[in-house]
Amino acid sequence: MAEMRYVDALNRAHHEEMERDERVVVLGEDVGRKGGVFGVTAGLYEKFGEERVIDSPLAESSIVGVAIGMAANGLLPIAEIQFADFIHPAFDQIVSEAARMRYRSNNAFGCPLVIRTPYGGSHGTALYHSQSVEAFYAHVPGLKVVAPYTPYDAKGMLKAAVRDPDPVLFLEHKRMYRLVRGEVPEGDYIVPLGPAAVRREGRDLSVFAYGWMLHESLAAAELLAQEGIDVEVVDLRCLRPLDKETILRSVAKTSRALIVYEDNRFGGFGAEVAALIAEEAFGSLDAPVMRLAGPDVPGIPYSKPLEEWFYPTRDRIAAAMRRLAAY
């Protein structure tokens, strides 16, 4: 089994799915000749041709709208939105059309569409290339929203998304493409969309995170292990549907919960997890449910010190873990 980068695992999934099923097509800005701005779609254009790997205009509503049309007519499109910040023009297509197709047609039509998009802040990505959009879409019944962390999951969950009969929003934190590495098997396998994964067992407190925040939370947990605090870290790789059982089982064990997300704190996805724990694990709690998230400012600043101020870094996560453990 080869160790590979997150971006390579996604690339492998594309190649394999397009080889496996000729209905699979890819469309988006620069996905063809350039192979994607992050290289996720590298080599597809050369191998599968412009019929199946389509460079689109800079018009996100059109990308998703066209993909919905393809899905309705028997294709299995993977639409790439170059940055999650630019997905907003397609909000109407995603929420009002794709997500509702099955419900609106009384189960006559589905919308087997995958929308991939890089999200989150990296170095100097600033207001227009840093946004976290998961809360907007996780709110919508009819959509699946996933944010895999390991390269293994990236490949297995993208394959599952392609084969899913309904629309899936596939979120890739852009820091992870070249930083996160992991073992990825050759050949076909699926990671089902739904279950969460306990990445680190612990007994003192539970941390729930996804994407890059999971990466930072795991690093913070290692720091706390040296201090004698045993942190359980749960990968919420599928935000909708949400794996309640794994979350509640973890809280039942540790009685303390911290949710970490990079999005603005107010109304963020972590609020839903916090509410779930408060409602269904109340009798297990030994401390208030805690959230650590980005501050409530309209965007991640470009200025280096201000950008640093924004991020829930591993040090800040470790500090929050200590506060929770000491409560």
């Binding site: 009685s255 109340f282 297990s284 709690l285 506060r323 453990a325 000491a326 409560y327």
Partner: protein, 417 residues
């Protein structure tokens, strides 16, 4: 830390108590809820459980001395199991500066409350532990360690102390004018029971405008049945069948018909009592106690007879509990056992009426224009005239008479009437 143990309020109208016997000596260990001292009040003798666990360091009130409620009677040096718990908590040491905890008292988290309930540990006991959480909060781990320690050294489970009753709405007795002892006079110091009876009777006569009604009842058939079957009945049911049991049943039935009589006067209005709890006057050498048959309307003749016998026995043995003497809503007193034929009882404060059952005597009476010898008794009702009037009292008494005179007899298998 030494903790003062004070004389608790034992019952609605207890103002003082006498130390009967110390069950622990200075220097003895005492567990929380372990019986510490016997206290004699005007109504009952109780074993007072220790309010805290620790070592009894000093007895402040010797046996036989009577002190008011609230008087410190002993000092207990509290054990510190919580410190031992805290010492075993590594997380606390590793934890950095915790956020300050508000001063609103100990907070118990949901899981701590749940675990405490599951293990039957009072929350107050948990709150007293010194926790390893922020501001000394008791964490789940603290409680789990405490449970382990507790299981390792089990202490005799004892019932918690009776909750202090709310302060009685009783006007203080005005001081008596100074009494002069003449040569040869003897001063009998008041026993707690005597003092309590005096206070309550004076309070009743002071506050309640008593009115009276008396009727004559022909209980010949009841007497004949009892004379014929009391031994068989006793053999069958295992208890004595007394006339009082019949009077209780008849009174209960009449109270159900006249709920206004099962009531309490208050400034806001008349409180109709749902439960019918019949107080029974029991004469003891030291004075009168009133033991209560709770929910008497839900018991048949056998049940009433059994409870009468039990209460009487325990009253004589000094084993009545607080619960036995509280909560009465109507009282039956039986001066007839001493031969009284016409009594005017005093209402128990907080009730609306009291029924006196006088002696059953054979009298010549006119029946069908002929003179007959019948078993006759008087029933005397004293009632609070603020609550209802004489007409109601008389109808109530007639109802009792109908019930008693309508006794159909039967054999020893009788279980109710």
């Amino acid at each position: 830390m030494p903790v003062e143990v004070t004389l608790p309020q034992l019952g609605e109208s207890t103002f003082e108590g006498t130390i009967g016997r110390w069950l622990k000596k200075p220097g003895d260990r005492v567990e929380r809820f372990e019986p510490l001292v016997e206290i004699i009040t005007d109504k009952v003798n109780v074993e007072m459980p220790a309010p805290v666990g620790g070592v009894l360091t000093q007895i402040l009130v010797p046996e036989g001395q009577t002190v008011p409620v609230g008087t410190p009677i002993a000092l207990v040096e509290t054990a510190a199991p919580a410190e031992a718990v805290a010492a075993g908590a590594p997380a606390a040491a590793a934890a950095p500066a915790a956020p300050p905890v508000s001063q609103e008292g100990p907070r118990l988290s949901p899981v701590v409350r749940r675990l405490a309930e599951e293990h039957g540990i009072p929350l107050e006991e948990v709150a007293r532990l010194r926790g390893s959480g922020a501001g000394g909060r008791v964490t789940k781990d603290d409680l789990l360690r405490y449970l382990q320690a507790r299981q390792a050294a089990p202490s005799a489970a004892a019932p918690p102390a009776a909750a202090p009753a709310p302060a009685p709405a009783v006007a203080p007795v005005p001081p008596s004018p100074a009494v002069v002892l003449r040569p040869g006079d003897q001063l009998l110091r008041l026993s707690p029971l005597r003092r309590s009876v005096a206070q309550r009777m004076a309070q009743s006569k002071r506050e309640i405008p008593h009115a009276y009604g008396v009727i004559e009842v022909d209980v010949t058939s009841l007497v004949r049945w009892r004379e014929a079957y009391k031994d068989q009945w006793r053999a069958r049911e295992g208890v004595n069948i007394t006339y009082t049991a019949f009077f209780v049943r008849a009174a209960v039935e009449a109270l159900k018909a006249f709920p206004i009589i099962n009531s309490t006067w208050s400034d806001e209005g008349i409180i109709l009592r749902r439960d019918i709890n019949i107080g029974i006057g029991i004469a003891l050498d030291e004075g009168l106690v009133v033991a209560v048959i709770k929910q008497a309307d839900q018991k048949n003749l056998v049940g009433i007879a059994r409870e009468l016998e039990d209460l009487g026995r325990r009253a004589r043995e000094g084993k009545l509990t607080l619960d036995d003497v509280q909560g009465g809503t109507f009282t039956i007193t039986n001066p007839g056992v001493f031969g009284s034929i016409w009594s005017m009882p005093i209402i128990v404060p907080g009730q609306a009426a009291i029924l006196a059952t006088d002696a059953i005597v054979k009298r010549p009476v006119v029946r069908n224009d002929a003179i007959a010898i019948r078993d006759i008794m008087h029933l005397g009702l004293a009632f609070d005239h603020r609550i209802f009037d004489g007409a109601v009292a008389d109808r109530f008494l007639h109802r009792i008479r109908e019930k008693l005179e309508g006794f159909a007899g039967g054999d020893a298998t009788l279980t109710d009437f």
